[in-house]
């Protein structure tokens, strides 16, 4: 008789510990932002008006919807609805890709205006603008990097559900993948007002 050892709570605990390191990583960046914002209020005020609030709002709503769909996939898998689970994971991945496409156009527009780290145009604007856009590109870039990893993680979840490695009574891995995706959403909830709204 073979016994498969499983510890769902331990698994979830491990995922949360990882999430804590992510919160501290972005927390440190938020502190950096707050301090430089305080030191260069004028420049941060003007620079943040360069950002497109509409595209930022759309991306926020896209991430919120994707967060809801991955949460619903966990309800679906517990109800033994495999097709619905797969559809919800696929929708989440699709929304993540749409988010990245928006980001591509948003960054592309900035590059066209000569705004990117180390650009001549930015150097002329002064130190405050260099800091604002440096933090903007680094923090939203790091966040986008998390989105890409999230797409890979959710891709594995899709494969595991499809091949029945994750089922209605064994879905902790899907929950952990979902937690990671919610973290990505959580970080954006704070990035959005800090960069786009508080002008």
């Amino acid at each position: 008789m073979s016994v498969v050892h499983r510890d769902d709570i331990g698994s979830k605990l491990g995922m949360w510990l990882f999430i804590f390191t992510e919160i501290l990583l972005f927390g440190g960046l938020f502190i950096t932002y707050v301090v430089y914002r305080y030191l260069h209020q004028e420049a941060f005020h003007l620079a943040s008006q360069e950002l497109d609030v509409a595209i930022g709002t759309i991306n926020t709503i896209i991430l919120l919807i994707s967060s809801a769909t991955i949460a619903m996939s966990i309800t679906a898998i517990q109800q033994k609805k495999k097709k619905l689970t797969l559809a919800l994971i696929a929708t989440t991945i699709l929304l993540a890709i749409v988010f990245l496409v928006n980001k591509y156009f948003e960054w592309g527009a900035k590059f066209e205006h000569g705004i990117f780290p180390g650009s001549e145009y930015l150097d002329q604007l002064g130190f405050g603008d260099v800091l604002f856009f440096g933090l903007y590109f680094f923090m939203t870039g790091l966040h986008a990097f998390h989105i890409i990893i999230g797409i890979a993680v959710l891709g594995f979840m899709y494969y595991y559900v499809k091949t029945d490695r994750l089922t209605h009574d064994n879905f902790q891995l899907l929950e952990n993948g979902g937690l990671y995706w919610h973290l990505v959403d959580l970080i954006w909830i704070f990035l959005f007002p800090l960069f786009y709204l508080i002008a």
């Binding site: 919120l64 309800t75 007002p193 709204l197």
Partner: protein, 94 residues
């Protein structure tokens, strides 16, 4: 076996929370566009705090998980907030 019964959140709950989150997002955009200066900034961050509480409690299932998870998340959030406050106090009263 010893496996505890797992709370299943309904689709309705998730959709309700999602619509609340979207309403809060649009609200924070509206507040900052009307320009209420310093208060707008505080309001936008307050709304972000409310939104993240919803995500943590419902989407991330903390409301239904063991108490231990809520305590741990609370401590980490408190740590980040305290460090931000101490840093700002340092800058304001230097």
């Amino acid at each position: 076996m010893a496996e505890e019964k797992h709370h299943i959140t309904s689709y309705k709950t998730y959709l309700l929370v999602l619509s609340l989150l979207i309403v809060f997002t649009l609200l924070s955009v509206a507040i900052t566009q009307i320009e209420l200066s310093r208060w707008a900034a505080a309001a936008a961050l307050l709304v972000a705090g409310i939104k993240s509480t919803f995500v943590l409690m419902i989407f991330m299932h903390l409301k239904y998980d063991q108490r231990m998870f809520r305590v741990m998340v609370g401590l980490i959030v408190a740590l980040v907030v305290v460090v931000i406050i101490i840093t700002m106090l340092d800058f304001l009263f230097r």
